[in-house]
């Protein structure tokens, strides 16, 4: 059996000179074999391995791969080479804020002193509590919020805290009957799903012709039944909701709360704060705005900030300083349960290792760095848009823009862009732009990288459907059949028939 780092298939049929060929490992005509194809060992419990327990308390056997450390090192190294990350190239995935993740933050999270058990006495983890308290303070200042909880483990979990806090607040005020949450139709899917998880009816709000909240429609949607309006600003088209003060007034007039989805905060760092715009509750998306790595899907963190009136409802426990003698002795920190807390939304205090990285990032950048991040993020989006041939129907946009692929299929455009060595934008959302290409380059790209990206967009814009439909060809795998995956779900190696992956060995490209 020989492994070859295949060059076949990278012959670049459609003649594009730029881009790159992603590493592709193949063995006997298939991509890197599964661990289970390298080895499967069944151990009988009580026979192959001694068991201290009687049979009726144990399973009979366990069958898993048994491989040596060098074999595993190669397996996972090869897998990693078949992944495109931010360190591979630009990753302008709209709404996801794929910034460079500073390496030193990994080092601080890996400090042995950071590895503590959550049931330690508060007195013995003053360092951890201090990091949490200082991060709460930073986030409060950045968002213009009075109190912050770090417990939610992602943005959607932060939304859930917001919705539960709103429910508890209304209940507390004898207004528990409010059963509707209003959400613009261009919002992220988690907003709708979160409101529903909280038991609310979702009222979907159309946009006006300029792509913003339609005030008349909002007026019609608002009522005594409104628990909250969830908004992100800039919205998913990158547009600032200029009427935000009026919107806040309208929501508050009917007794509702205004929720800020912090996914797009990178656009506003140092230039506007949700608290100043009239938002009552917001989440921060730490893996976006504060550059913690996305880890192939997570972990992230979704701290929530609230105005003073809502602070008593935040999840328990919270961290606070019980100040010693000013500057002379460092503050002591303690945990406490807010008076009308909604309880917990996570077993412990959320994704601690992510929160440490966010703290380090903010402490590194400071006022200047944070304000410059939004400046360069907005400059980059505007510059890239100016260089792209696709139409961008709505503006003025900020950290992201949504172009339309027009007659082309946005999903195919994305596949073809992969052949140019870049990650494509988010596609087909928000639906208000047909064949949407939602593009967020972030502040970390240089002019020359943006030129490369624009080159990829423009090359694909001029290609015909046939090329697009057969793309990608320079990636580790070629176009993957989604229909077959869903029709015939094979979700573990147990579900793969023994013939899978064989029989195509003769196929050579």
């Amino acid at each position: 059996m020989s492994d070859d780092r295949s060059e076949s298939g990278n012959e670049n049929e459609n003649g594009n000179e730029n881009g790159h060929d992603q590493a592709r490992w193949t063995t006997n005509g298939q991509y890197e074999p599964l661990l289970s194809e390298k080895n499967q060992t069944r151990v009988e419990i009580g026979t192959d391995v001694d068991s201290p327990l009687p049979d009726d308390l144990t399973r009979d056997d366990l069958e898993l791969p048994d491989l040596s450390e060098p074999e595993l090192a190669r397996h996972y190294t090869r897998l990693s080479q078949m992944i495109y990350g931010i360190d591979s190239g630009p990753y302008p995935l709209g709404s996801c804020t794929m910034k460079y993740n500073p390496k030193f933050t990994e080092d601080v999270a890996a400090l042995p002193s950071a590895a503590v058990h959550p049931d330690r006495s508060p007195e013995s983890v003053q360092g951890t509590l201090e990091v949490l308290a200082r991060l709460q303070d930073y986030l409060g200042r950045i968002g213009g919020m009075d109190a912050v909880t770090l417990q939610p483990p992602a943005g959607a979990a932060g939304e859930f805290v917001g919705i539960r806090v709103a429910a508890a607040y209304h209940e507390h005020n004898g207004e528990g009957h409010r059963y509707e949450v209003i959400i613009p139709e261009s919002a992220h899917g988690t907003n709708f799903a979160t409101a529903a998880l909280g038991g609310y009816d979702v009222v979907s709000l159309p946009s006006d012709d300029a792509g913003r909240v339609d005030l008349e429609a909002l007026d019609a949607a608002l009522s005594e039944d409104t628990a909250a309006l969830m908004l992100t600003n800039p919205n998913t088209l990158g547009l600032f909701e200029r009427d935000i003060t009026e919107i806040a007034g309208m929501v508050h007039d009917v007794g509702g709360l205004l929720y800020y989805d912090g996914a797009n905060l990178n656009a506003l760092l140092g230039r506007a704060r949700p608290g100043d715009m009239g938002f009552d509750v917001m989440h921060y998306n730490v893996h976006k705005t504060f550059a913690t790595p996305h880890g192939g899907g997570g972990p992230g963190a979704g701290p929530v900030g609230v105005v003073e009136d809502l602070a008593p409802f935040l999840p328990a426990p919270r961290v606070r300083a019980v100040d010693g003698d000013g500057d002379a002795t460092p503050a002591e920190y303690e945990l406490f349960d807010p008076e009308h807390t909604i309880g917990r939304v996570h077993g412990y205090q959320g994704n601690w290792l992510v929160l440490v990285k966010a703290f380090a990032y903010i402490a590194r950048l400071g006022d200047e760095g944070l304000t410059d991040a939004s400046a360069k993020a907005v400059l980059n989006a505007n510059y890239l848009a100016s260089q792209v041939d696709y139409e961008v129907p709505y503006g003025p946009f900020h950290h992201e823009f949504v172009a339309s692929a027009g007659e082309q299929d946005a999903a195919d455009v994305a596949k073809r862009m992969l052949d140019y060595g870049v990650h494509p934008p988010t596609t087909k959302w928000p639906e208000i732009v047909s064949e949407a290409l939602m593009t967020e380059p972030t502040e970390v790209e240089s002019k020359s990288t943006l030129d490369t990206l624009a080159g990829a967009f423009n090359a694909v814009a001029s290609e015909d459907d046939e090329i697009l439909e057969s793309a990608p060809e320079r990636t580790a795998a070629r176009r993957i059949d989604q229909t077959s995956a869903a029709r015939n779900p094979r979700l573990s190696w147990h579900a793969l028939s023994t013939t899978d992956g064989e029989g195509d060995g003769e196929r050579e490209e």
Binding site: Q30, G85, P118, D119, E123, A196, V202, P489
Partner: protein, 445 residues
Amino acid sequence: MHGSHTTGSPYAPHTDDETAAMLEAVGVESVEDLFDIPEDVHFDGEFDIDARTERETRQLVGSVLERNDELTELLGRGHYGYYIPSLVDHLADRSEFLTSYTQYQPEVSQGFLQALFEYQSLLVELTGLGVANCSMYDAATALGEAATLADRTRKTSGHRVLVPDILRTGRRSTLENYVAGTDLEIEPYATAESTVDVPALESQLDEDVVMVYAENPTVRGAIEGRLAEIGERAADADALFVLGSDPVALSLLQKPSDVGADVVVGDASVLGLPTSYGMGLGLFATDERFLRQVPGRLVGASEDATERRAFTLTLQTREQHIRRERATSNICTNQAWVALRSAIHAATLGPSGLVELAARDVTRAETLADRVDALVGVKAPVDDRRHIREFVARIDQPARPIADDLEDRGFAVHVVGEHEIQLCVAGVDDETLEEFVDAFAEVVR
């Protein structure tokens, strides 16, 4: 350093010349002109946060974290500090794993998808259930998701969810929040010797119940002996049987599919993460009949245009970005990288290594219980059950001051009752356990 570069974000590469050229291309004078923010909500940029160099920032975080006392943790109750092989850190820290995101473009993400598929397969093997997703946030939120699944799939008009009275507050409270939007009600049932009191459970079980939750091992380290009966009783009442566990325990203890479990939840980061102040990895596995109701992401096998096997996220019509308010869950960003770590850790152990680790957790916990039981004024374990990893000890003196004295001697233990402490051996070596016994003997003397 390249070009002239005014201070700002150290990760924004723009030289002043480039910035000028870009502004010109856009057709504005300054970056400020690009912001369409009304004056009344404009902020002046003064957070009062000082910028620092990388070195200063590392020093800052390091010096703050130094305020954490260095203690030997005999702590568990759902979060464990097993030794993490170096291989896990070195491979998982490869930046392609760390800096990519959800595999929306599977053609450039095969490596991560395959690793997650392998993680799902590991859980399928451990649980015996046909489907495992590739992560929830943690054990508590996975339990919450199991309850909303029970809500969506219930066969009766019932609304009660039965949970053990010893369930951790964090899990119970999170569960309460997850069911707040349903008519489900959480109701505790009695435990005996820290395991399910089966007759008590039976007396509460009727057709009003949609879900029965139990844990193996229980939060006090006891191993359940009557799981199959619980599974049967739950099935008789048309209720889902949801079992909480973790990959180490599952390597040795009864296979959930053998005792009638419909869903398995728990924390899979017992493998892969050191103690992380509670950060976890929600394990979620279920029977194939609930496939369309599974929360979170699923990786499936398919073929690419060359007919080679390739992996992709699948059955996404369950998810929030497609189904919106009718999605099976609101989860988007999850714990994928922790799942990768957990899978690598499991792979380094292999099947016999996993079983041996769990077996050692039984013998070492029970040996420690014997050692402390020999001390005057201490009874251990309190519960007349077999134990894995941890157990509860009763001490004649009040527990809190004893725990404080132990902390002064460098050991952290749980106080779980006025006269009860809980001790966990996971990740603590034998020599240190000896030192602990000596220290314990001194403080209870």
